[in-house]
């Protein structure tokens, strides 16, 4: 279902063609990074730390070097140390430990050998002497003075006074507005709570993989799975100390990323092993390595206090957020602060966030990073306000809903946003208007995510037969090629399947930032449209030459040139390309831009659950999500993003968590024990696409990739409360935890 607000009707945009890359993917021909085989190729294997925190005293590779098939071995000593202020320094230290290992799974050495087995055996024969150090795993404990320190050079930034001692707290972020004391004093009702979540993995089905082939000319070619091959190039160059011109990165198909493939783990190691062995080197992670050594999203402890008037206006908010970023600091607490009360107009607030390092894998982005945990806290408490004031939870949200011109908590004024429309869409949905089945609980929640613009490039070439090739630098992680083709079809007026959308490598297309922040269809789509509009100008000029008339007398519409005086028969695009050789040569256009004006995304969701009172198992009985897409270019893949985000959120809310033992060893590094949702866990996920077009995009696109994962955490918690009377403030809502809450009568009445 789509609810559209005043957008033009289009011929191609908004239709649902079969995606261009689909056929290869259903017949098993699509080439992912692990599928590439090159002549003489070696296999790389990484030796990883068995300790959560230890000093590397010595590494002896002599036995491994003597083993059959071994062609190269590298350790931290083979890589330079970037200056302390280099933004890529922590990445390089994560890819290969130097003097210390900072988490179980931290890379210590890598081997290239003729077979996978030989590489693994040799890696295991490397003798590493460790001096085990005390470790810290818990966010709150890591923040305490005297906690084991991961880094001697982290001094908390953002404090009122300059700290004199190093700490595990990398920074403090603060947002304030109004008078919070006055706000709470004027509140008729105050609710508060502490909310806890664990690290969660993105769980893409394809493990990280790459092949690197370094030649004697000092150049290398990398085939890899990533969300952004230009960043693979720059990060690989940074770690190796190379000029980027020596590195060509060819994007393979990517088997899921969700943020987790916005940074690198393998490529510089493969390049270095290839340089040393003179052979191509393939590196493919095992699932165990993916869990232990690639980035989960942070665990968190978040305390929120909200004050509201008796009629339901939220007038005061206090939030304290701590995010664990793993072994190196990130930006997670800051993002959480920016999101924590974003769906509400609150006059008075103080929000402070702390970025905390612990001895766990370095965190990476995961779909609307940091927003879901923050929403879990706020939207659970908003539900409590609604319940205590006996106000419908959607009506309460509508009462506090920001709209264009209101000031967002993190500073800027909101542009045109569709939160109100999403709330109304859920309120008016058949799901929300129907009563939950007897015994079922219902929860609603809302969520916010920024979306971003960044740099994109596109080249559009018209072929002699009137078809077009659209080359962009955005890896297609969920159907974006089809979206690019649809926008190009709309512009050029030719069939969407007369357009071949291609993801180009770092040497055939202009610089393009990572596919992240729901930006590909927004920003790269903008570049495609700009290039197509350039081409339309060229086509008018060619038609003018063919007609020997002034270009001003030529109009372009619906895929053809028409003469304003009506003196010539219209020329279709193919008529003009067929004559291109005689009218000035091939037609092509390139656009490169920094996309401004990304449209903020909101989603509102409602879920019905049943809770087995004997086992504590929560079953999702019905789920409906409404999301503002701006404009849905290809509605199938918009729905797919919405449904995928919701189900990842359901997994986060109900099942998923990193479990570490007391020594910091991950106990569930596989899909059997780290249980992501399976088909039999779920109902259909009903979607309502709301279209409040983004005025800053030629087709009104906002970007749809991320916000869907934000509301499920509080929506499920609110539904479980409705079903059981228990407010559970720690995730996941796994059977033991829910059962314990039921047994202990943790029905605090909210």
């Amino acid at each position: 279902m789509t609810i559209t607000e005043q957008r033009p009707s289009y011929r191609y945009v908004g239709t649902r063609p079969v995606r261009h890359d689909g056929l290869d993917k259903v017949v098993g021909k699509a080439r992912y990074a692990a599928d590439l085989v090159l002549p003489g190729m070696l296999y790389g294997h990484i030796l990883r730390s068995p300790h959560a925190h230890a000093r590397i005293v010595a590494i002896d590779t002599s036995a491994a070097e003597a083993m059959p098939g071994v062609r190269a071995i590298i350790t931290g000593a083979d890589f330079g140390d970037l200056p302390a202020d280099d933004p890529e320094r922590n990445m390089t230290l994560n890819l290969m430990a130097r003097d210390k290992v900072l988490y179980e799974g931290h890379a210590v050495a890598a081997v290239a050998a003729a077979t996978r087995r030989q590489a693994k055996d040799a890696a295991e024969a490397i003798a590493v002497t460790y001096e085990v150090l005390p470790h810290t795993l818990d966010i709150l404990a890591a923040m305490e003075p005297g906690a084991p320190l991961l880094h001697e050079d982290i001094f908390t930034t953002g404090l009122d006074s300059e700290p004199t001692e190093p700490s595990n707290v990398a920074n403090r972020t603060c947002y304030e507005r109004g008078d919070i004391e006055k706000g709470f004093a004027e509140s008729d009702i105050v609710v508060e709570g502490e909310f806890v979540t664990k690290p969660i993995h993105q769980g893409y089905i394809e493990p990280h993989a790459c092949v690197a082939d370094t030649g004697q000319d000092g150049k290398t070619v990398i085939w890899c799975s990533s969300q952004g091959h230009f960043r693979v190039r720059s990060q690989t160059a940074a770690m190796l100390g190379w000029d980027t011109s020596r590195i060509k990165v060819i994007p393979a198909e990517i088997g899921g990323g969700f943020g987790g493939k916005t940074t690198i783990y393998l490529e510089p190691l493969a390049v270095e092993l290839s340089a040393r062995s003179g052979r191509p080197v393939k590196m493919v992670m095992s699932r165990d390595e993916v869990f232990r050594a690639t980035g989960p999203t942070p665990g968190s402890v978040i305390r929120v206090k909200l004050g509201a008037t008796g009629d339901g206006r939220i007038i005061a908010a206090k939030a304290w957020l701590a995010y664990e970023s793993g072994a190196f600091p990130g930006v997670w607490a800051m993002l959480g602060c920016m999101c924590v009360v974003a769906p509400y107009n609150v006059e008075n607030f103080v929000i402070e966030g702390y970025e905390v390092v612990v001895n766990k894998p370095v965190n990476a982005a995961y779909r609307a990073p940091s927003a879901p945990m923050a929403a879990f806290a706020t939207d659970t408490l908003v539900d409590e306000i609604a319940q205590r004031l006996d106000i419908d939870p959607i009506d309460l949200r509508l009462l506090n809903c920001p709209s264009a011109g209101d000031q967002a908590p993190y500073g800027p004024k909101w542009p045109l946003i569709g939160l109100r429309e999403c709330l109304e869409a859920i309120r008016d949905s058949e799901h929300y208007r129907s009563e939950p089945a007897p015994g079922h609980g219902r929860g609603v929640a809302s969520g916010f995510w920024f979306n971003i613009g960044e740099a994109s490039s596109a080249t559009v070439n018209l072929n002699e037969n009137g078809t077009a090739t659209v080359v962009t630098g955005s890896p297609d992680i969920g159907g974006s090629r089809a979206s690019m083709a649809l926008m190009a079809a709309e512009e050029l007026g030719i069939d969407v399947h007369a357009i071949q959308p291609v993801v180009g490598d770092t040497e055939v297309v202009g610089f393009t930032d990572v596919t992240e922040g729901s930006r590909a269809t927004f920003a790269t789509g903008m570049a495609v449209v700009e290039a197509c509009r350039d081409l339309k100008g060229q086509l008018r000029g060619r038609a003018a030459r063919m007609w020997e008339c002034e270009v001003d007398d030529v109009e372009w519409a619906d895929g053809q040139a028409t003469h304003s005086g009506g003196e010539h028969e219209p020329l279709a695009l193919a008529d003009i390309t067929a004559e291109a050789g005689r009218t000035g040569g091939p037609l092509g256009a390139t656009a490169s831009l920094n996309a401004r004006g990304a449209g903020p995304a909101f989603s509102v969701q409602v879920v019905d659950v049943s809770v087995d009172e004997e086992t504590g198992r929560v079953t999702v009985e019905r789920y409906t999500t409404a999301q503002d897409a701006g404009t849905a270019i290809h509605p199938d893949y918009v729905e797919g993003q919405m449904q995928g985000g919701v189900v990842q959120g359901i997994g986060w809310a109900l099942n998923e968590e990193y479990i570490h033992d007391a020594d910091g060893i991950m106990e569930n590094p596989g899909f059997l024990d780290y249980r992501i949702p399976v088909a039999s866990d779920l109902p259909m996920i009903e979607t309502i696409i709301v279209e409040v077009p983004n005025p800053n995009h030629p087709y009104g696109v906002r970007g749809v990739g991320e916000v869907g994962i934000v509301p499920p955490l509080p929506a499920l918690a609110n539904a479980v409360y409705d079903a059981t009377g228990s407010r559970i403030r720690e995730l996941p809502l796994s059977p033991p935890r829910v059962l314990e809450a039921i047994m202990s009568g943790n029905g605090d009445g909210g």
Partner: protein
């Protein structure tokens, strides 16, 4: 260490390959036979991306030793279509947008084919349980389940028609 000689039929072709005794059938399919359709998502039988039909039974090829395939008949995703004529499941996956990144798709298609081969008229619940051994992180399964149900209807019509 000498390698083991295996003869089997894969997607209608008689195939011979050499493998190590401890090698998985998944690795043999990919490294020795160079059929790259089956994917390794976990190597422990938890994700189903490497699903094949081995002598009529749905299997995770990562859990089968390659030498066990001697004399076997194997269907992989590459063998589902009839030449250029796609299997209804493949058509419906394309039309129903049942894939995003596509890395789990080969396994889902093989598992869904195994289901429809033995139960041509499954309920939604039966499809959900039959595919519960295949993980997809992109789609939330909705469009996959719908596409399998549509394919089942289409195949029934073809039989009836």
């Amino acid at each position: 260490m000498s390698r083991t000689h295996v003869s089997c039929n894969i997607n209608g072709d008689d195939v011979e390959f050499l493998c190590d005794a401890g090698e998985s059938l998944l690795d043999a399919l990919r490294d020795e036979v160079r059929l790259m359709g089956a994917k390794e998502g976990c190597g422990t039988g938890d994700c189903g991306a490497c699903s094949i039909i081995l002598d009529g039974r749905l299997q995770c090829s990562c859990l089968v030793f390659a030498p066990e395939a001697d004399g076997a008949t194997i269907v992989t995703v590459e063998g589902i279509a009839d030449g250029d004529h796609l299997h209804p499941l493949q058509e419906c996956f394309l039309e129903g947008a049942a894939l995003q990144c596509g890395v789990c798709t080969p396994g889902f298609l093989v598992a869904a084919k195994a289901l429809l081969d033995r139960n041509p008229d499954p309920t939604e619940t039966e499809v959900r349980y039959a595919l519960a051994g295949n993980l997809c992180r992109c789609t939330g399964y909705d469009k996959i389940i719908r596409s399998v149900l549509v394919a089942a209807d289409r195949m029934k019509e073809e039989v009836a028609g």
